[in-house]
Every structure is written in structure tokens, then in C-alpha cells.
């Protein structure tokens, strides 16, 4: 666990593609009844979207909100497990698309669903050490679930970006503390050249998700002297609706402290973007002074936990760019056939 010093979110952006498929529509194919389904509906990227284009969408919003010259960005880290290229960086495409300069660090990260929050840690280190003025931490995924698998109901698409810089009066939120908790736990994986990930079913629960997420949170709270009642919002990684609520129950949290950060019920689980999108939704409504605890989970397995403190700058910066609500509400429902076409499940060549 680490106390951070003088680092803040200067801009943030969340992006959710326009298309939604109802879990019921997926269940129709596989003979599942409504009460068996883990979520209501999930966000599906369009035919022309991938984790690169969504990372760009989120990054552009974050830069716009920060109101900075993108040439001042010194590092871009994109976390994703659905890179369109096995070899060729996403970060360089994002950099050129947002108008960043050439003398930057551009590196992609992979750690299942927590690659986005890992990016935050790398960027804060670079900012804190004075090596860069600003950096972008992005989580973006077009998550794939094998047709017929339990993951198919939840594996979703989305991206979120945090533009991080030195702590200033007009910052959105300071990043106060961080902790990470990792072990070698094979709960979910995807082998090289496989299209879909595999998982160990119920083994993804207790020994994986719960152990790591609670591990990172508890140590952060205990060691840094925070108490649960000091925290106004909790945002957890959420592979479904049940898991984050079980964490809330284990921590004895009031429902209103977790509900703003819950998105999986209506957006699904866009892997590296999931907990960050929950954070974006919270930032869209939080007040200066509010404390936020963000805890991701990545299979394999690990969890990053952060404590953020909302600052005065949020009031003005929030309205500079579209909010997550704007993307959530403009949904278009698609059927399974369109879903199969959009997500490359039809072999066209």
C-alpha cells in the first residue's frame, strides 16, 4: 500500500457503445429463463468499433474535460484483453488520434479485467516522479464470451480514460492511496490464438474475485487509516450484479454507497473498463470533498484498490464533455443476429 503525493485526476471520460442486447435475447437461444440471467442487458460495440476506437473515444472526452493541450501528455497506457492486434500497440494509435506528441511512453497492458487500473498506477508514478506532466490511463475492451457460455450474457464493450497530472486547485480528484493484491490463481484465461476466454466456473468466485478484491481493500483501509464510514462511494469490479453486492455485504456497506458505481446490470462487464466506468459514473455525480474507493479485479489474479478525494474542479470540468449517462441512454437494442454480425461471430470469409 502506498500513499500518493500530489497526483490528481485532471480529466476523465467514459464511453459505452450504442448497441444493447438483452440477456433474455441471448437466453432465448440457449434455453435460459429470465430468472437465471445474471444481468438485464449488455453494451455491444458496433461493427466498426474495437478496443482501439473505444479507447480513443474515452481519451478524447478525458482530454476535453481536462482542457489541456494533448501535446503535454507524456504517457499513454491502454489496458485491454481484446487488442485488435496481437502485435502492434494500441497506445500509438490513441496518441495520434488525440493529437499527442511523439516523445511519449506508449505501452499496452494486459491483466484480464484490471489492466486499466494498473495503468493508473504506472501513470501516477511517472507524474509523481516528475518524469511526465500528464498521462492517460485507459481501460478498453470488446469483451468476448463464447456463444452459449455463461460469459456470453455479460461480456460487454466499453472504455474509460483518466487523464492524470499534478494536483492543482482545479483538479477533478486527488489520488490519495493505492494498494495491489496479486497471487497466481488461474480462474479465467485465454490462450494465445484462442478467440474466447475460458474459466473455471465457480472457482472464479471465492478463491479469485472475493479473496483478491477484499484483500486489496482491507489492507488499504487498515494500513492507511481510512475507515469505511469515511468513504462516500465504493466502486468494485463487477463481472455480474451479484458479486459486487456480495462484497458490499461483506464490508457491511449501505446500499447507496455502492449503487452509483454499479453498471453491470445494464451495461454488462466490459472487462478492463468495468470498474473505471463505475468510477466515471460516480464522478459524474460526486461533490467536492467526497471520498471514493475504487477496487478492480483481474483474473489470474489480482486487485488494485485506490482512494480518491473529489476536488472543487469537478464542478466546472464535469460539464465540459458528455457524461456517461449520455452514452447509457442513447441505446439501440439489437437482436442476436445483429450481435453475431457486429462481434465477428459470423464467418464472412
Amino acid at each position: 500500500m502506498v500513499r500518493l503525493n500530489g497526483v490528481a485526476i485532471q480529466g476523465y471520460g467514459g464511453y459505452v457503445p450504442r448497441y444493447r442486447i438483452r440477456a433474455e435475447e441471448i437466453g432465448r437461444l440457449w434455453g435460459r429463463e429470465k430468472q437465471e440471467l445474471p444481468i438485464e442487458e449488455k453494451a455491444v460495440a458496433g461493427l466498426d468499433e474495437d478496443s482501439v476506437t473505444m479507447a480513443v473515444e474515452a481519451a478524447r472526452i478525458a482530454v476535453k474535460r481536462a482542457g489541456i493541450d494533448p501535446k503535454k501528455i507524456g504517457a499513454i497506457h491502454v489496458g485491454s484483453e481484446s487488442k485488435p492486434y496481437a502485435v502492434k500497440p494500441t497506445g500509438t494509435i490513441v496518441a495520434e488520434a488525440i493529437g499527442a506528441g511523439q516523445n511519449i511512453l506508449a505501452a499496452d497492458l494486459e491483466f484480464a479485467c484490471k489492466a486499466g487500473t494498473e495503468a493508473i498506477q504506472l501513470i501516477t508514478g511517472l507524474v509523481e516522479s516528475g518524469r511526465i506532466e500528464y498521462g492517460l490511463a485507459i481501460g478498453a475492451d470488446t469483451a468476448q464470451g463464447r456463444p452459449g457460455d455463461a460469459l456470453e450474457y455479460t461480456a460487454a464493450s466499453g472504455a474509460a480514460a483518466l487523464l492524470i497530472g499534478r494536483l492543482t486547485d482545479d483538479a477533478v480528484a486527488s489520488i490519495e492511496a493505492w494498494n495491489s493484491y496479486v497471487t497466481d490463481t488461474p480462474d479465467f484465461w485465454r490462450r494465445e490464438s484462442e478467440n474466447y476466454p475460458s474459466h473455471a466456473a465457480r472457482f472464479t468466485g471465492q478463491p479469485a474475485y472475493f479473496r483478491h478484491i477484499l484483500g486489496s481493500i482491507n489492507e488499504l483501509l487498515n494500513d492507511e487509516g481510512y475507515s469505511i464510514k469515511d468513504i462516500d462511494y465504493f466502486v468494485f469490479h463487477q463481472p455480474n450484479v451479484k458479486f459486487p453486492l456480495a462484497v458490499a455485504k461483506a464490508l457491511k456497506l449501505e446500499r447507496e454507497k455502492v449503487s452509483s458505481g454499479l453498471i453491470s446490470g445494464f451495461l454488462g462487464n466490459p472487462y478492463s473498463a468495468t470498474s473505471l466506468l463505475g468510477l466515471v459514473r460516480v464522478l459524474d455525480e460526486a461533490k467536492p470533498g467526497d471520498a471514493i474507493l475504487l477496487a478492480s479485479f483481474g483474473s489470474g489474479a489480482g486487485s488494485d484498490a485506490y482512494i480518491l478525494r473529489v476536488l472543487d474542479g469537478i464542478e466546472e470540468k464535469r460539464d465540459r464533455a458528455p457524461k456517461l449517462k449520455d452514452f447509457i441512454e442513447r441505446k439501440i437494442y439489437i437482436d442476436y443476429a445483429s450481435y453475431a454480425k457486429f462481434r465477428g461471430k459470423l464467418r464472412l470469409r
Partner: protein
């Protein structure tokens, strides 16, 4: 499109960065030597505004070979906020939103892919303005 050709002009495709004639104001998508409108030779690099309105649209049903797996898709004529007119694919439109005069914004999308193993070509498209 061959890789070097795609790469050379990515600034316009990614960010609508082009060149405007200092003399007559004509916009050039790609770096010119001579102004296509007035023949003068001075240009300044400009980044076009990312928002505008849809002047007219149509649907491509029988697509060129590189776009066969994308059809049907929308093509629109967009007038950007500075008056520059630009042809673009439209994306993320619902049927109700698809009307002349609709407010639109530029986004980066996949334009086409060179098969399963070739490069992915990204470029601008326009969608209904969000927010």
C-alpha cells in the same frame, strides 16, 4: 490500400487535419504543392472542427470489394461548423435520427480491414452528436 499509403495520410483520417490555402481558403485533405482552387502555393495546417450538420445521406448496398462485409452502410455529406464540406461514412444512426440537418460529430472508427491478417484501417466517421 497499401500500408505506406494508408500511413502517409493518417492525420486527416484520424483528426481531420489538412491544409488550407493562405490565399483563397480552399481546404485540401492531403498536403498539396499547389492550391487546387487558386494555384497559389502557401498553406497552413488546420484541424477541422469535429461537429457539423448532415446535408444529405444515402445507403451503399452493393459495396466495393473492400467494404463488402460492411454493407449496408451510410454515406453522408456533412457541413462542418466552419463551412467545410466533407464526405464521410455515418455510424450509430437510428432510423429516426437519419434526416438532413441532423447535428453530427466526428469519431474514429474502423473503416476497413485488409483481410484477417492485414492491417486495420481507421478513420473518421460521423455519428449523431452525443450530449
Amino acid at each position: 490500400m497499401r500500408v505506406p499509403r494508408y500511413w502517409r495520410n493518417k492525420l486527416f483520417r484520424y483528426r481531420l487535419v489538412g491544409w488550407r490555402c493562405i490565399n483563397c481558403g480552399a481546404f485540401h485533405h492531403f498536403k498539396p504543392l499547389v492550391c487546387k482552387r487558386c494555384g497559389s502555393r502557401g498553406f497552413r495546417e488546420v484541424e477541422l472542427p469535429k461537429t457539423g450538420k448532415l446535408l444529405a445521406y444515402t445507403v451503399v448496398k452493393i459495396a466495393p470489394a473492400d467494404f463488402k462485409d460492411k454493407a449496408p452502410y451510410l454515406i453522408g455529406l456533412v457541413e462542418l461548423d466552419d463551412g467545410t464540406r466533407i464526405l464521410a461514412q455515418l455510424t450509430d444512426f437510428s432510423q429516426d435520427e437519419l434526416k438532413d440537418g441532423a447535428r453530427v460529430e466526428a469519431v474514429l472508427r474502423k473503416i476497413r480491414e485488409d483481410g484477417e491478417s492485414g492491417i486495420i484501417e481507421y478513420g473518421y466517421k460521423f455519428r449523431p452528436l452525443v450530449g
